[in-house]
């Protein structure tokens, strides 16, 4: 492994982007400035450059890096345990129990869990889009009746295609069209542009729609068209913008999003 000449070549998080790793020169110095061992080493290193083949990074040692570890004073006594259990500041960190709800009787040893979908169904065209849609809706209804108000507490009513129910067809088409234009936005954020075009929708609304509806439909299309590659992810199109690709081949996927919306409705 050669010496790294350019900081940009250091291990970066994303294999597609060259991000700098931590900006280490910002770390505060400690202590006075006599002849440091590090400086002595640096002089030696000038002579040994050929030997130094590492760009190994090191863990920081010192007060600004380590956690403060409490001393172990022995196992807690019954009194300490009791105090801990009753201390409100500690118990509040347990959060609020959502399931099983108060008064719910747990049936031990007869619980059925881990069941997947059945092998077959009675749909006219098993496995097609409408078959899946039907079963997804049925599963949701079944869940709602099993867990009652916890369904809303867990926000199951704001998952998946349900989110599109709050968007008109026109809005969905506009969103898809805008998203197709991302490569020509240059420095503008898609979200900034979208916010302007959807004045009635909050940022949260837009993101919710994007994650629950738009991305999922895109993945669904890619599956259908056998375009799902090994490393592909939903944001592939946005990454192409970063990499300056003028290759238009992937844009042929985009019209599908719009067509999918038309097909559903």
């Amino acid at each position: 492994m050669e010496d790294v000449a350019d900081q940009a070549e250091l291990p970066s998080f994303s294999k597609k982007r060259k991000y700098r790793t931590k900006n280490q020169s910002e770390r505060p110095r400690k202590g006075p400035t006599p002849t440091r061992k590090s400086e002595r080493l640096a002089r030696r290193m000038v002579l040994m450059t050929s030997v130094l083949l590492t760009q190994r990074k090191k863990i920081g040692v010192g007060e600004q890096f380590q956690a403060e570890i409490p001393d172990w004073t022995g196992p807690p006594s019954d009194a300490e345990l009791s105090w801990y259990r009753n201390d409100p500041n500690t118990s509040k960190m347990l959060g609020s129990r959502t399931w099983p709800p108060e008064g719910y009787v747990v049936q031990t040893n007869i619980v059925v869990a881990g069941q997947g979908r059945p092998e077959s169904c009675n749909c006219p065209y098993p496995g097609n889009f409408y078959c899946r849609l039907h079963h997804i809706n049925t599963a949701r209804d079944r869940l709602r009746s099993e867990i009652g108000q916890v369904f809303k507490e867990w926000k199951f009513d704001l998952m998946g295609e349900q989110v599109s129910e709050m968007w008109s067809i026109e809005e969905q088409l506009k969103f898809a069209a805008l998203e197709q234009l991302v490569p020509v936005f240059e420095n503008k954020s898609f979200w900034a542009v979208a916010a302007k075009h959807f004045a009635s929708k909050t940022r949260v609304d837009l993101v919710q729609y994007y994650l629950n509806v738009f991305l999922m439909r895109r993945v669904s299309n890619q599956c259908r068209l056998s375009l799902l590659e090994i490393d592909s992810d939903e944001d592939e199109a946005e990454e192409e913008e970063d990499e300056d690709q003028s290759d238009g081949s992937n844009s042929s996927q985009r019209p599908q999003d719009v067509q999918e919306v038309k097909k559903i409705f």
């Binding site: 291990p11 590090s38 130094l52 863990i59 380590q66 403060e68 040893n109 059925v112 049925t138 869940l143």
Partner: protein, 480 residues
Amino acid sequence: IFASYNRHDPRPLKPKKKHNPQREKKFPEMAASGEGASLPSPAGGEDSRRRRVSYFYEPTIGDYYYGQGHPMKPHRIRMAHSLVIHYGLHRLLELSRPFPASEADISRFHSDEYVSFLASATGNPTILDPRAVKRFNVGEDCPVFDGLFPFCQASAGGSIGAAVKLNRGDADITVNWAGGLHHAKKGEASGFCYVNDIVLAILELLKFHRRVLYVDIDVHHGDGVEEAFFTTNRVMTVSFHKYGDFFPGTGHITDVGAGEGKHYAVNVPLSDGIDDDTFRDLFQCIIKRVMEVYQPEVVVLQCGADSLAGDRLGCFNLSVKGHADCLRFLRSFNIPMMVLGGGGYTIRNVARCWCYETAVAVGVEPDNKLPYNDYYEYFGPDYNLHIQPRIVENLNTTKDLENIKNMILDHLSKLEHVPNAQFHERPSDPEGPEEKEEDMDKRPAQRSRLWSGGAYDSDTEDPDNMKTEANDLSANSIMK
């Protein structure tokens, strides 16, 4: 309460004697809400019996959004939750909404200035002091996004709550998929992580547990946790990760800790393409020895799912089953355990993995055909739970792995030779504080011309050990 892990029992510091095989057979069947299992399992043995599992889930977590094109998507946690519930696993779990960690809670580890910055960095993300942005390493990998601090509070609150549950003995296994953000440092963000919920959770566990074992199977080195506990023997950190031209750059096999923490950090550096069998073999071998010499009272497992095959940022080749075998193996030691999330950037596979691992925690083997659910369309074309490894080359040669294994077992054997001196609580620094600080000081101008300015002084604790720095990073040259 486990009979043999009753914290009121003073535990001997010597290595455990062999388990009496007779005891292993009489293992009482556990109901979901009944008493905990009370007998230790044979080390590494298969154990599908139930545990009391407590799972934390914040219903708003999926809406936090790092930004356009950013690979980290909290939405994956919501997808995992949907699978967990539609599989009916909630019937065997206790599920709680976490309480958000406060600034004071977070300052238990992080510096006050950094916490204040995070707490105030919400609102309009474009009005930020550029010096603060630089100082706290936010901006690109770690953007300031809408709701950043509440997101951190939920993540950390879940992990701290998980620790409190274990301390109280209310659960055998606690789960927080919003946690596991292992890169965050005391004074800065790193690698998509801002608040190190793991460190906060471990600090809580240390109130009631003398020794905590931390295991990290994210494809990236668990540097934030290792650094936080680098100089203590009360926490042993074990990380399996890709090493070599890969973020974050730490995690070399010879990084073993410092001061009182020397030999209490274990790093398993791996190459691309490691598969289920190779990983399992290495994992079980090393963890078995760690359990023998360290005898932790509680285990924290970071289940970063970017070590799965086909991950957008990862380069390993594990299937969901192979990944989950780590949890399964640790679970079989029958020690209180916390299970956390972490990396994972091909979100459909992250959801599969964490759903399956929730099932493993509970002791259920779910059907491979996914149940219908609101995110069903993400899982085509097969709509199955399990994934196939890719056809890629496993660059970890048998020889490399032998060398790694031997080197690590050798490091661990150093713990056995000094059994009584291991757990001294004296705060003295055997290396001498002056020398230490110089080593870790920022490099002067000369050094940054030598190599990029990114790497630290690569000196180890032994000042004469220049040869170590000369070794390159791959395992097979370690033995030169």
